[in-house]
Symmetry: C5
Subunit: 408 residues, 5 copies
């Protein structure tokens, strides 16, 4: 196992194995990175974090040795912590999650065997060029939880763009340069291929940008590689399970104006509607975290319908009151005119307002009080019709404005 | 304890103990693997991951020594981290969970005592053949959380196939070859035997396939062993606790057409139905994550019934309106004909529509207005009957289509 | 600190400190174990795992030295990881939880001082016999999560038996033998004494069995010590909070047959019952995981009551329909016989069916149509009575069968 | 850095740095402990565990050196794991949580410089006395999760006493003696001062007791320091949000006896009450774990009110039935006596029972059947009144007994 | 790699690398700290803890070497654990969370090259002044969970001030002095810039104070840097989703006084209101932990409205009872006066109270009993009106007081 000694892997002191092999010539060590998103595990709107399964491939210049000197050995495996690996890390990482299927072993392979490998550590020459065959590569499957600014305003029709910024933690741009292996299109394509989880989120696109950051405190220039991941929520289940039922309740509320019967029946019908929407507010409360500066549109949608039904209940109470007033005056009249023969006319059930009002209005040749009656019931009826028209217009306007904001 | 020195276990440097003993002759080291699923702990549909308890047996060529040289010692135990073990890992592993009852100690045993063990590390000869007695084996009980693409479309009648792919992390096919010890049937059989948890999921089958993967970046050919685990959800509790109640609500809704009484009673009955289904939507919301491209059938089932009942409420409102219109015209007529002797006939409670319509229709020899009355109530009745027939047909068609999609 | 050197504790290499001191004579090293359950922290029916707080005492032959040679030192404390401890592990352990109050330090004490301790490691003599004073003991408080097959069929009257199997991970029966210190009765007694948490579960019994397992792959015979822990759920809160309310709803449903009033009042009463049971299904859904091959009895209980009330609603609708039919025919008759003097008899409120049917049946000397009326209402009444009897019988049979299955 | 060598901190072998410096003279090393509770993070009634933030101060005899010999250095900082610290641990600790702000560095300081520090490790002299200035101290902020037997019987008016027992894990009473620095009053006072979280729990008192335990297996006598922490739940929010609403429902139920109207209205009112209490049982189910031998009083409270309302519904049904029977017989009578002139008297709405019963009872000079009528309605009325009185008495007795049990 | 040896990084013993380089001259080593809050991940009111993402920059005097002696190397990277870093820790830290993107590598850079670096470790000179270019800096992104006293009294209009106290764990004020780099304004500004998460909480301000603490036990004076973070909850979603619906229910309750119809309709309307509020109490129970000495205002708000509606239900029952009493006496009168011709007058539906009372009151020339009737109904009406006025006044007073307390 002389090779291992030769490569400096057998020493227990940290000199060589843990230090970055300094490049002899002053050029920076090129590091190549690829990052594929294989699944979106969790999107936590409350903590504003995105958990993804990421396959990250890092490549850097190969180690080399003369295979004839070491029993013709062409490959050579060593635990990963015995060799230097680039210290690329992710800035947005929110919570510490360990690398998962990270390779704990590296396989080194002879590239060329030209002459003895100079014992000088500094002369660890970099083979430039993206040719992967000339790179030591390390493929890690990482479970990443990155912070991501998410705006829930358009929930559940929202789409978010999250950044994953790769950057060396210690080496400046003069020591390490970071580049992507595959371009954005290739990464998007392959990510979609790899994309395993058919979850709530759809992967739209992955973009790669090369950036350059200057850390003031340390006067340190760093290369950055920014991956922009665009994801879109699949809204169908929310529409079906939440928005549609609430909309049906709204339609039922509008239709309840045509309920024929005692006014209190209409009232209890509408109260049951309100109660049902309260149950749905329970679901909304579970689904939607209290984030955001603006209220999410779905909250506006739900609350507006709640308020609308509340107002329509108030209107029903008012109209009922007016009708009752109308009826009562009629009755008083008939009670006064009671002694004459038309007594039995008043025997009909006064719950049946329309009939009683018709009755009250049929004989127009009556006294002053009759007219007041006429007045009240007419007012009630006019209010009812006008309110219904305004109500429907409000709903249409509200829904169309909301729809435009929601799905532009 | 010379044996330990002899086997190279006493050295604190990593040379021998942590490096793979390179095979002298160019054949790859054979590694044999068996994987039994002993329980399915968790199936997270949202994160699209499967947590299983797995018993994984790995076997590789035995170490050997001459027992006569070492005080006749036949067995020899050493902590696991002092010896080389194959670096088989699982690709789909989603979250880092530690091995659980993993053996921390290996027991080595003499196989044969032919001559001195050559001090040359390279000559660590492999004993080929699956004969387990000639293998060092290591049985680990692992709690695995693997990513698994799950389609909830047929929930709760769904079954999923999850892969567990075993692969060396560093050694190419030229260094390590992976094979299964037991075949698929044996593994399925023994897994079912071991299967402890009588949980929501039933283990249907475990399949083993040998695959071969080429990692482009590194020009590395790897052996893979793919275990395909097929599991099936036990739907009974969902059927009993969720689908049956919702179905009962649908039946009650159909039967509510035969409710005799004031129209508003029918309405309040149906509204209570709708409210109850809202409560069940709460349960559905807890149970079903918003995943999937297509809406899961159970969401369609629930929403469709919700919408159907909503429509039937609208129809009830319409029919009531028409009936009320019919009644009202009759009354107007009778009010006009009031002065004659048949006054007391109109005294009957107008809430009782059937009777009033019968009344209205009995004396056919009446004027124009009477006919309108006849018309409205007849229209209402015809609409009611036609709607009921259409409603029942719709329900039957919907349920049979759904049933076919669900349980093909 | 020569003693530490003498005992081999000062060496940084792993030879002696981490290796099991091989017994010179060929007998196995006796290891004695005791396991007390001090609390049941969690019983996860879904994951089918049991989390217990366990006090585990392990004893093995003492180390010895001549105290006169080492400044008369009689005791000697060393960090636990510097000495060999038996590698007893638990097979069912489901999730990795660390030892909690595990002693990190061992205290060694002189037993006898006969002559120099031979420098030969192999001669580490075992003192046989369970005499604890002659054992090195280690008491660990462990938080164990073990897999346990739980059948929720009888929930909440269920009791489960979970195994904790202790076994050496590496040493065969020839090297280590495992025995219990205290017998089953002693352990049960002392566990109940220690039992801290007055939680949902009651500790019934702990049983100890010695087993013997043969691992085929390695031709390894192992001693096992199986602790069988029997626990019983305290059902009272479930009975009070869940089963009793649902039973009260059932009683109310039966009693609702005696509700006097309009048929639709009875209907709305029953619908509210159904809605309330839906709310309780919400609780059931939270409490009971969807496990088990058979549906748990509590699910059957809940669903059966749900279905029973559903059926009784259907019957109420049917009976109401029949009664309405009866009434209507009477009215038609009276309408025909209207012109004569008994007109005003038909003026009574037809909502009050009993009276109207009595009316209809009182004057028997009427025509054919009257009899049909009689027929319909009689049929309705008979159906009502028969259904009630059948309903009560069904409920009694169902509850008694369920009761027998539940608490045999 | 000769001082570090001198103190034995530079050695990589474990001899001196990790071993307890054995006391030369046979007295035990005195260890002084103080424990302050700075907040109660979580009280898990289900797992019966208490999570507290604890500030634990440990003091032990100081290290010393001659400052003139070491460049006049007076202080000296070293990572904590390089020096011996007392192995005090907590017995009740339920789950492994790491020390949090534990000091990773120790600061050593010269005390006196009298002569050379003898190179003999055994002579590490203890400075006795609680004088803190002569103690090495280590202040750790620990997040402790300790098992604690909690009885929820009086929830939410419960208070619990949890023990935190400090004990050396390895050293017997002959090697280490444990004492508190501050007495109970001082600790309670300072804990209340430190107490940060204004959570659900109020810290009442902290008590310190010195105990002495004998571990039989090892013949080991240990010093213990038991801190008894008494905490009290702040019940106000539970009273306001849970108990008060349920009580209001009970009051409404009692008042519902005075509801004037059709019997079925009273019924539907009471059913809505029952439904509302079901919703509150949902909350209770979330709040209260199913622990305890006895049912918690709050469960009794809730269930008893549920059952009481259930019974009052049954009574309402019975009374309604009796009243209906009474009315019906009257009607039969009047129907028989129908042919005479008083026919129109029976035309009045029979829904209005009081009037009809009055009617039935007004003309006393009637036949036998009339009397039965009288009887039924009278029975109904008497039952109603008696039940109401009994009901109110039951409620008062129940609530006062409950109140006494709850807040003695 | 002589430089590494020269700087003392190659030694495996802990002398130099892990010990704080003692300052030769007696001045304390200046340490400069900056702390930016980049997001608020979680605010746990129950555990009274605040989880923030914090960027913490620590600067301390630079290491230096003569670049000409070491091949002209100007920069030099080393793993962080090989060099001394200041042991600044946070006192309030509640739970152990690892540093996240903490730099594992430090980059050292030549500052000046004047002469040989003296081999004496003690002469590690500090370059004073905040000039960052002369500081070794380390930027850590930490996920901090700090204890924070939060008062939920004004929830959801609450704002909290949490402290993050930085302090050396071992070094006294004579060894290390802590200062901030940027002042409070700069930190607030840059934090707001960095602030990523648009969550429930708004960052108001960050304040920096320098403090000085004396630890009595150790006679240790420590520098402290206290960052006071003021955050404010965004209440909009709570207002919209919780407080508004409950307020609407209150309005509906007030308006229900104007419901015209049978008294029981009003009752069932109010009961449905109460049931709906119960559903919202479910949400409140999920949202608000039972903390706080005083009940949070939102609990008072919710409970007060609950109680108000409960009282208004009681009043409705009372008024209905009085009205019924009034009506009954009238009926008795009319029954007595029945024999005369006005019999058919009493045939009208007694459910229609207003009409019947009017009827009863119209003919004033009646006997004593009539007057009692008049009395009862008048009392009922007066009570109703007075209660309504008082009720509205109570509500207005309550809401305005609450509003003042809430948003001063």
């Amino acid at each position: 196992m002389a090779l291992s000694q030769y490569l400096g892997l057998d020493k227990s002191n940290n000199d060589i194995t843990k230090m970055r092999p300094l490049v002899y010539r002053s050029t920076a060590t090129p590091v190549y990175v690829d990052l594929y998103v294989s699944s979106i595990t969790n999107v936590d709107e409350k903590a504003q974090s995105l958990t993804t399964q990421v396959k990250m491939i890092t490549g850097w210049p190969k180690m080399k040795w003369n295979k004839t000197l070491f029993c013709g050995m062409e490959t050579f495996a060593a635990p990963k912590d015995l060799v230097w690996t680039p210290d690329i890390s992710i800035i947005e990482r929110a919570f510490g999650r360990c690398l998962v299927t990270a390779r704990r072993w590296m396989l080194f392979r002879v590239i060329w065997s030209c002459g003895r490998f100079p014992r000088l550590v500094c002369s660890f020459e970099s083979s430039d060029g993206k040719n992967a065959a000339q790179l030591e590569t390390s493929a890690d499957f990482v479970s990443l939880t990155t912070a991501c600014k998410m705006d829930l305003y358009k929930f559940p029709f929202d789409s978010h763009t999250c950044n994953i910024t790769l950057q060396s933690t210690a080496y400046s741009v003069y020591e390490i340069s970071i580049d992507e292996i595959t371009n954005a299109d290739g990464i998007t394509g392959r990510s979609k291929e790899l994309f395993q989880a058919q979850g709530e989120w759809e992967l739209i696109e992955i973009n790669v940008t090369k950036a350059f950051i200057n850390i003031i405190y340390e006067d340190l220039n760093l290369d950055q590689l920014i991956y922009q991941i665009t994801i879109k929520r699949r809204p169908l289940l929310y529409v079906i399970n939440f928005m549609l039922p609430v909309f049906i309740f709204l339609v039922l509320d509008v239709m309840s104006f045509f309920i024929h019967g005692r006014g209190t029946d209409k009232l209890s019908f509408k109260m049951t509607l309100l109660l049902s929407i309260s149950v749905f507010l329970l679901i909304l409360n579970d689904t939607l975290p209290s984030t955001a500066n603006q209220i999410p549109l779905i909250g506006v949608y739900c609350s507006a319908i709640f308020i609308l039904i509340g107002i329509s209940i108030l209107e029903t109470i008012l109209v009922n009151l007016l009708k009752a007033k109308g009826k009562r005056s009629v009755e008083t009249t008939t009670a006064v005119t009671g002694p004459n023969g038309s007594v039995s006319d008043s025997v009909r059930d006064q719950n049946e307002e329309p009939s009683s009002t018709l009755n009250c209005c049929a004989p127009i040749q009556q006294n002053q009080q009759e007219k007041t009656c006429l007045c009240w019931t007419r007012v009630a009826r006019i209010i009812d019709v006008i309110f219904l028209i305004l109500y429907i217009i409000t709903i249409i306007v509200f829904l169309s404005v909301l729809g435009k904001l929601w799905i532009p």
